[in-house]
């Protein structure tokens, strides 16, 4: 009886000991996963991230100045670099204190790295992020005030440091390289602005706020002057419409931002909506677009500039699709023409500026001229 009791106690003890120690070790993380061996992803520490940010960005006067145009391993970015130097874009992003961690942070980590200068516009100064506080409150009714003050601010502090001034939301994804392709065919001294053109309420149309829009330096000058001379005022809180009305008054042209195949580049929704969604016939969108709406693959240019209502994970997804994922050796169907260099163009001041149009016109005129002279010769 005694021996039996002792032995079973021993076995029980053995089992208990094994189990408890196993649990203990497991807790400590000692037992390794015996499965497929995954390569250790290089996890960046916070310190490394901060260091890298310091190398690429100069934080000064509540703005971020780009020191190195981001490059990708294995790529030839000479054309993009040339445009980076020639077409300087200041991006200002509409955000607020509550959205810094939720949204603005992801903008900072992705597309804004391709701007020459980035300013995050908020209602509160934050020297760390950094954001600029513009003496406004938060809320939809403050949008136009924020926009007016933001443009005045960037004109005042950075007017000489950029040629074009882009406004975007913290849920807009912008491909800055493609924006440069469009803008390179225009002069920053032209009074023009580009975006996703809407037709109601304003004769020449106005640009959708969410899809982002970009003003030339001259357009920005006129905007600031317009407010000084009271030609423009805070007419409503509908930021994009009010701005569009002001633009028309001060003689800034609403540009055509479509590519050479007339496909839209600025988009008010996410790619999925444009590529696959069928908007119901009663949807406001149908009555708003200035140009004919195309649904399906031809909705969107290969050189798309912006998408809207992009949440955090979608930002990284678009960044992956745009700058990382590709098909080896694939010859793209769309071969965009190189943008014309502005100084070489002797075009008359256009009342409607179209990309590539001038180049095509010149080319076409040449051909026309040749044809006519040939015909003439034949007749003779």
């Amino acid at each position: 009886m005694k021996a039996l009791g002792a032995r079973s106690a021993f076995y029980v003890g053995f089992v208990v000991g094994t189990c408890t120690l196993y649990v203990l070790l497991r807790q400590v993380g000692f037992t390794r996963n015996v499965g497929s061996v995954e390569p250790e992803a290089h996890k960046k520490s916070l310190l490394e991230m901060v260091e890298e940010e310091d190398k690429n960005w100069k934080k000064e006067r509540l703005a971020l100045f780009n020191l190195n145009h981001p490059h990708h391993t294995g790529e030839d970015g000479t054309l993009a670099d040339a445009l980076y130097k020639r077409v300087r874009i200041l991006c200002w992003v509409m955000t607020g204190p509550n959205n810094l961690e939720k949204k603005a942070r992801h903008v900072k980590a992705t597309w804004s790295r391709h701007c020459n200068i980035v300013v995050f516009i908020s209602s509160v100064d934050d020297p760390d992020f950094p954001t600029v506080g513009l003496n406004t409150k938060e809320g939809r009714d403050q949008l136009y005030w924020k926009t007016i003050r933001a443009f005045h601010y960037v004109m005042d502090k950075h007017g000489d440091e950029a040629d074009w001034f882009l406004k975007a939301d913290d849920d807009t994804y912008v491909v800055i390289d493609n924006l440069r392709w469009i803008l390179a065919s225009h002069s920053p001294e032209d009074p023009v602005y580009f975006g996703r053109r809407f037709k109601p309420y304003v004769k020449q149309g106005y640009m959708s706020g969410g899809a982002g829009y970009v003003l030339s330096k001259e357009a920005l000058r006129r905007f600031v002057v317009g407010f000084r001379t009271k030609v423009c005022t805070h007419t409503s809180s509908v930021e994009d419409l009010a701005l569009g009305q002001c633009m028309e008054k001060i003689g800034v042209v609403a540009g055509d931002s479509r590519d050479t195949l007339e496909r839209e580049t600025f988009h008010p929704f996410v790619p999925e909506s444009h590529l696959t969604g069928t908007f119901p016939k009663t949807f406001w969108y149908w009555n708003y677009c200035y140009y004919p709406i195309v649904q399906g693959p031809q909705c969107c240019s290969d050189l798309a500039v912006s998408f809207h209502y992009v949440d955090a994970s979608h930002m990284y997804l678009l960044e992956y699709y745009t700058y990382h994922l590709r098909a080896f050796g694939y010859k793209y169907r769309y071969q965009p023409p190189e943008p014309s260099v502005i100084q070489d163009l002797n075009a008359p001041a256009p009342d409607k500026v179209e990309i590539g149009d001038i180049e095509e016109k010149l080319g076409a005129e040449e051909q026309e001229g040749e044809k006519k002279s040939l015909e003439h010769n034949e007749k003779l």
């Binding site: 005694k2 009791g5 002792a6 106690a9 021993f10 029980v12 003890g13 053995f14 208990v16 000991g17 094994t18 408890t20 120690l21 196993y22 070790l25 000692f30 037992t31 015996v34 497929s36 390569p39 992803a41 996890k43 960046k44 520490s45 990708h72 790529e75 030839d76 970015g77 000479t78 054309l79 993009a80 670099d81 445009l83 992705t110 390289d177 493609n178 440069r180 392709w181 790619p271 999925e272 590529l275 696959t276 969604g277 693959p297 969107c300 290969d302 050189l303 798309a304 990284y316 960044e319 992956y320 699709y321 745009t322 700058y323 990382h324 590709r326 080896f328 050796g329 694939y330 793209y332």
Partner: protein, 365 residues
Amino acid sequence: MRWRAGETDSRTDTTFLLFSGCVYGNECDVVASKCEHSSVLLKGLQSSMMSEGSSFMKGMILGGIFCLVMAFFETFNSGTHSEGREHLHHHLKPVSKDELQKLSESQMSDWTLQVRVYCLIMVTPKLLVHWATANDTWSKHCDKSVFYTSESSKALEAIDLQEQDEWARLRKAIKHAYENAGDLRWFFVARPTTYAIIENLKYLVLDKDPSQPFYIGHTEKSGELDYVEYDSGIVLSYEAMRRLIEIFKDEDRCPERGHALWKTPEEKQLATCLKYTGVFAENGEDAQGKGLFNKKSVSSLISDSMGQNPADVVEACCSDMAITFGGMSPSQIQVLMYGVYRLRPYGHDFHDSLTFLPPNDSDND
């Protein structure tokens, strides 16, 4: 058993001078032995009860030691094993850019011909939507794509194998593909729930000789067997196919209908058959070691990366030259088509040594 300092255990009639509760054998034993010691110093023991307690304690320590030893042994083993396995595991990478640049034009055109792919897409009417999506998207980039179905559907064309058993169906499809390969030398087997970037598949196998056996994809382990996961696509060279056809004739080692009560998934049966012919699974990865074959969707991988690598989400997530993704809805796939074959930043060029032209009659790529 727990004792508090100063308490008297009535059963053993000993007083414990030292410390508090214990759960772990070692401590208990230490305490118990100290206590035993002190109790011996203090009082006499009621030995029968004590022996039971001490047996228990001894059992516990031995159990603990046993566990530690097993853990060490296991990690040591898996350590060496995984190293050994890594060599066996065969991490297959694409040809380097430098190597590519050294090649002559005739070599390039030879390789462009050699690297053509025959896609076997295993469908069922249940997967009609995915079937239609694959038909409309990535399958157009295969040099030859054939849909093999379990039963025919009025909506879409396919080779009807009239076979419900998945393994038998796969065997039939492989036989058919081998016989109808023409001069195609690479084979890609996938379900329509997988999305593939065929150009990147070609890039991976570009410098590999298809008259050698290759069996590539995302590898997993089941006991001693390394197999390629079906959900992320399976790549087979012509020689691997040939050997498969041969071993299919061997009903003992590679039976068509399993005799076991439970069904082994086709991916493992395939691996087993191939193993008998001396062909082993290899993990496809890029120059940085990132897996090229994924069974998860892009958004799922991005979400994972946001959790694990918030400082560097996109770099850490997925390879630039990824070949497959899985579990994506048809509209997500249309976005993926746009993202891979159209959307790009102007002015960034890659000057790849080979050129693959877009397919005819297609507007989403």
